[in-house]
Symmetry: C2
Subunit: 422 residues, 2 copies
């Protein structure tokens, strides 16, 4: 008997018929002898409906008081879900009880619409589990020290589920979603992409931040921090497939670097075309330049990703970095008006037609020559590399966006990701 | 400057456009210098939608755990309303904050779906009002001692508003609804029916229980107990009518028997056709008979209204009472199987085609001859009276239902209710 946390996304909770299927699946696990805590999202579309109503009424200058009300509103979608799922479980003949975040309580800070979980009290939940009940807890939300409802931001239910699993020291946290696992890359780009049976937290973090939108990135961080075994699996398999089969399906995200993982040097290819490149040319190469430029950008709340500073030549250097495409125009304006004058240059260039492609693999730590293998594969396709950025388990290149699919396919092949795992 | 509680029904909150109008009306009161606490219902249709989803999933044998989940679900409709109204008020340039029942907290017992308010903590609300904020509190719900969400049953938002007004010692509680006040009788039956400017709590209780469905009866009891001046008025007047005019519109329900009220002996005519009559004939007239019969009925949770025991004749008597029509068949079955055998009679009669018509007036206390005036008016129309029941401020008769409208009109005329108030 193990304590298991299930998390179901909005699509899985999208109708009473689907909720009934979720209940049957949960019942299967309970009848196999497990203790279950279930964290469902709001029914699909509901959160958008509520926030749409809010938007119609929103004040011209929305402040913190407005964000607080958004959380009052937005949190109701999950409350409806837990009530309905609990009822469906009772109809399946199980004992069940639902809790809103504040009832557990799940304590967060007071950052409305993007709160962070600070602690979870497990007393009530343990008591209910010991009494043979299934416990259903709202995702996406908590309560601050003053008793205000807070929400965790989009995808926050993943984080809620992992946090509950951590607090309860659950044996595993199963994230039921509309994909059947984590792939070596996006199958829409590379049809040969394979599902990974296991992936490490660190790899998952790099994959998630690169746009493999399977899990909210914060939930992965949380799982890594508290060493919660996390599995992503499909909620569209029939509810009555054998539990042994279901328990091994999807992708397990682990914190142990086991031998199997050592074998694959590169686990996956991530990519995104959400970024734009900004270059400032002819900058005097003296201390404080990077801070001058990036400090101003950070002050404007613009996030910077890849950063490159060229070798200096005759006391001048070129400085390049990428930002989100949505921030591109604002970044260029900011630099032109506030930064360039003090640098003694007016040479700024930009490019929004770029993309970033990365190879990710925990095995890169102990293997040499991985990056050069990547560069060779790209060169063989005639793809010019504009920027390079490396970390312990990831190497990223910025290239012309028109080569994105070509690059991803070439790298997928070069690292044998289309071959069945050994 | 006064502290005022406004309550808005589901129709008034039915769309973002209407919510904006509510906000404008509240803003008008705030700008006139008042402190405002607002209790809105769920958007019309929302509670039914939620309970409909629950019904689709309901277990075959719903128990207390199911009712608890209904309250988790049902309470979200009001939470959405308070969030939206608070946002609309902020858009009007006011400071506002919303609270769910548990946040105030509004404490109730644990009778899910029909909980009773036990106490209201006014600290948070007073602090917010002192800080110049409008406070918006969910109707219909509270929290029990174990932190479970409870709801007060249909129409419970009226009770919430009155309870909040009582706890805050508000100057007045204004119930904005889709009728413009309390009438001498139903205008659909008597076109000459007049709106009452004032009505006493006791009259209102009798009117409400007789089917003048303007206010939830429990809210009137609450108002009477805590002496909360209560006004029923229309939410369909333009929001920008002068506040002095609005403050005098509708019907004021008072706890003071002022002189004006003394003048009108009868304030209104109430009626309903929801009842059925049951008669047991030839019952031995000995102690304990009423208990034998009505005890069995009460044990089956069937509510009895009018009760009549005839004069005894040769040691035998007839015993009649009325029950709700929905309970009629069950009552007759119950009596035949469990009660009649022990009474030594099998003579039971029933009639579902009856109605009850009542005259209600606080002035009846100090006036004699009112009942006989009622009986004469009915006799003049050739209407036979089957049962009579009297209380201090009400006289009711049970008659054939086909005469209902005729009786109501005759009584309305006989007591000069179609004449403008003096």
């Amino acid at each position: 008997m193990a304590l298991i946390v299930h998390k179901y996304g909005g699509t899985s909770m999208g109708s009473t018929e689907r909720i009934r299927n979720v209940a049957k699946r949960v019942a299967k696990w309970v009848r196999a002898g497990h203790q279950l805590v279930v964290v469902p999202s709001a029914m699909s579309g509901e959160t958008n409906r509520l926030l749409g109503l809010a938007k119609e009424l929103a004040p011209a200058k929305p402040g913190d008081a407005y964000l607080r009300e958004l959380d009052m509103l937005g949190s109701t979608g999950e409350q409806v879900s837990v009530g309905l799922l609990s009822i469906a479980l009772q109809a399946e003949g199980l004992e069940s009880v639902s809790y809103a975040g504040w009832q557990v309580p799940i304590r967060t800070n007071s950052a409305y619409t993007k709160a962070r979980i600070e602690s979870i009290d497990d007393k009530k939940v343990r008591k209910d589990l010991a009494a043979g009940k299934v416990v259903i807890i709202t995702g996406f939300q908590g309560v601050d020290d003053s008793g205000n409802i807070t929400t965790l931001g989009r995808g926050g239910s993943d984080t809620s589920a992992v946090a509950v699993a951590a607090a309860m020291q659950a044996a595993e946290c199963l994230i039921y979603t509309d994909v059947d696992g984590v792939y070596t890359t996006d199958p829409r780009v590379v049809p040969e992409a394979r599902r990974l049976h296991t992936v490490s937290f660190e790899e998952m973090l790099e994959m998630a931040s690169m746009g493999s939108k399977v899990l909210q990135i914060r939930s992965v961080e949380f799982a890594g921090k508290y060493r919660v075994p996390l599995r992503v699996l499909s909620s569209f398999t029939p509810w009555d497939i054998p539990i042994e089969e279901e328990a091994k399906s999807g992708t397990l995200i682990t914190f142990e670097e086991d031998e199997q993982m050592e074998q694959a040097v590169v686990s996956g290819i991530a990519f995104n075309r959400d970024e734009a490149k900004v270059s400032i040319l002819g900058v005097p190469d003296k201390p404080g330049i990077a801070y001058n430029i990036l400090g101003a950008v950070a002050d404007a709340n613009i996030e910077v990703d890849v950063i490159i500073q060229n070798l200096s030549k005759e006391g001048k250097t070129d400085f390049s970095f990428t930002v989100h495409r949505n921030d591109y125009a604002r970044t260029v304006d900011l630099l032109k008006s506030k930064v360039l004058p003090s640098l003694g240059t007016d040479r700024i260039e930009g490019d929004t037609r770029i993309c970033k492609v990365s190879i990710v693999g925990i095995g890169m730590r102990s293997h040499v020559g991985i990056a050069s293998k990547m560069f060779r594969a790209l060169a063989e396709e005639g793809i010019n590399i504009q920027m390079i950025s490396t970390s312990e388990i990831k190497t990223s290149v910025v290239i012309d966006e028109k080569y994105m699919e070509l690059a991803v396919r070439a790298l997928h092949r070069a690292f044998d990701l289309d071959q069945p795992a050994a």
